[in-house]
């Protein structure tokens, strides 16, 4: 029964080492699975596909560096899809750290993959403003009242793509890559519902179950965690294979995540087997 005792009390350092290996080894061997999009993710893709060129998309970066592995691929894939479709992308942030994360997309996606897109005509970076959901409420009717300049401090009225924008109702779609509050839920509550504006986006895996009550009437689609991001990347690459080399960050990360999930399941099973064997042993001892 020494084995039973060992199984019941595995040293946490062994678990830590196995989790580390579960992430490192698939990364080293480039373990990639085929990802199939689910209807809740495909709904976002179909909505963007259905919009005519020139439609206005507000993309909000509502996360920080801690959730980059989940949120950044979502934001990158959405930006890539909007720009390849010829939509106008308005980038902003309701998180202070969101502005810097938007810069990551600008450098790695917009400037690298869409060098022909003109700043102020095809896309603009409005930056971050304080106020959380109060900011969403304020820009609902008067965006230029809050955003008098872009992120670099240039007068907002000098950009052609801002001429037709008064408030949030002027956008055809609001997208948010979010990891907490304020985030996608606040965009639904303070903008989508109020102005009947379509809202969609992605959140961390932990937060995704909280947003299901809004789908599909108030939230037209949802990417949940890394899996959601991978599904969106897969569906974009399927339609636009020219992005195969650059647009599979989340798909590649699904290998380590899958193996890590398996290791967690393994330990839960081991813990339960040990628990039931222990309980049976105690029962037998009591009846003996």
């Amino acid at each position: 029964m020494a084995l039973l005792e060992k199984l019941s009390h595995i040293d946490r350092r062994i678990i830590f080492v196995l989790i580390a290996l579960a992430v490192i080894i698939p990364m080293l061997f480039n373990l990639v699975f085929i990802v199939r999009p689910s209807p809740i993710v495909e709904a976002i893709f179909e909505k963007i596909e259905s919009l005519p060129a020139g439609s206005k998309i507000l993309l909000s970066y509502d996360y920080g560096p801690s959730t980059v592995p989940e949120n950044q691929p979502m934001a990158d894939a959405l930006t890539r899809h909007c720009l390849v479709k010829g939509l106008k992308v308005y980038i902003m942030a309701v998180w202070a750290t969101g502005e810097a994360q938007a810069n990551v997309t600008i450098d790695s996606v917009i400037r690298r993959e869409f060098p022909d897109k003109v700043y102020g005509v095809d896309w603009i970076h409005l930056g971050y403003k304080a106020g959380n959901q109060g900011l969403i409420n304020a820009i609902f009717t008067d965006l230029k009242g809050m955003y008098t300049t872009d992120a670099a401090g240039v007068d907002i009225n000098t950009f052609p793509m801002m001429a037709s924008i008064q408030g949030l109702r002027d956008f055809d779609l609001i997208l948010s890559s979010a990891s907490g509050k304020p985030g996608l839920k606040e965009w639904v509550q303070f903008a989508g519902d109020r102005g009947n504006i379509p809202v969609a986006g992605g959140v961390t895996a932990v937060e995704a179950p909280l947003l299901y009550p809004y789908y599909p009437r108030q939230l037209l689609g949802l990417m949940g965690g890394l899996q959601g991001a991978a599904e969106y990347e897969a569906v974009v690459v399927h339609k636009y294979p020219q992005f195969k080399a650059t647009s599979l960050t989340a798909v590649k990360s699904m290998g380590p995540q899958t193996v890590a999930h398996l290791v967690i399941i393994f330990f839960v099973v081991v813990g339960n087997v040990a628990f039931f064997l222990q309980r049976r042993k105690e029962k037998r001892a009591r009846t003996a």
């Binding site: 678990i15 689910s38 109060g134 401090g153 949940g224 339960n272």
Partner: protein, 226 residues
Amino acid sequence: MRREIPLIITFIIGVALVVALFIPRRPFPELDAEFSRWFDIIAVFAFVLGGGNLLQVHVDRITRKHRDRWYSVVTLAGFLLTLGIGLLKVGGDAGLKGNYIAEGTWFKIIYDAVFTPLTATMFSLLAFFVASASYRAFRAKTREATILLIAAFIILVGRTPLGYYLTFWLPEPLQFLHIPNLSAWILSNPNLAGQRAIMIGIALGIIATSLKLILGIERSYLGREK
């Protein structure tokens, strides 16, 4: 008057914002927009208040020679250094309107080389603790715990490509047992019902609390009476 004036402001703004939602006619939408702008301006001052509070707590800890004072020294040094570099836009364009996080600024270097790895590390550590905690705590001790455990298994596997590979061979009549379908069903039905119940409860609580604030019944936000 120190208590009456904030109560009157709360009442007027609270009533105006509620009315604006139901009566979209002048002057309510304008009032709504104006009050929202005021809120955003006040929100900026929360940063000053937060910074002041941080200074107060940690300076106090250092002066009292608390055993954790060296952590406070690191916190204050990091805070003041980042604040100074950000305000002065070191390495970037000078002036109030200059971009503090433009390429080449010291603030951007701090963000990329210190803040990003630190926060990412803290968040990544969760994976190790979740694995360890799952092993220790996730035991099918009761019927409810067993249901939770089965649901967790399905979601854990269903949220990876593995879920597809395990059960894709199931014939059409049994497709409801396909793990990704089961995972989606759990999220869209039992989870949805639970979330809605919680949300409705929270909403009712918020309405009650808001009414108490607007009507001046709840006054704790004004601080203690002297």
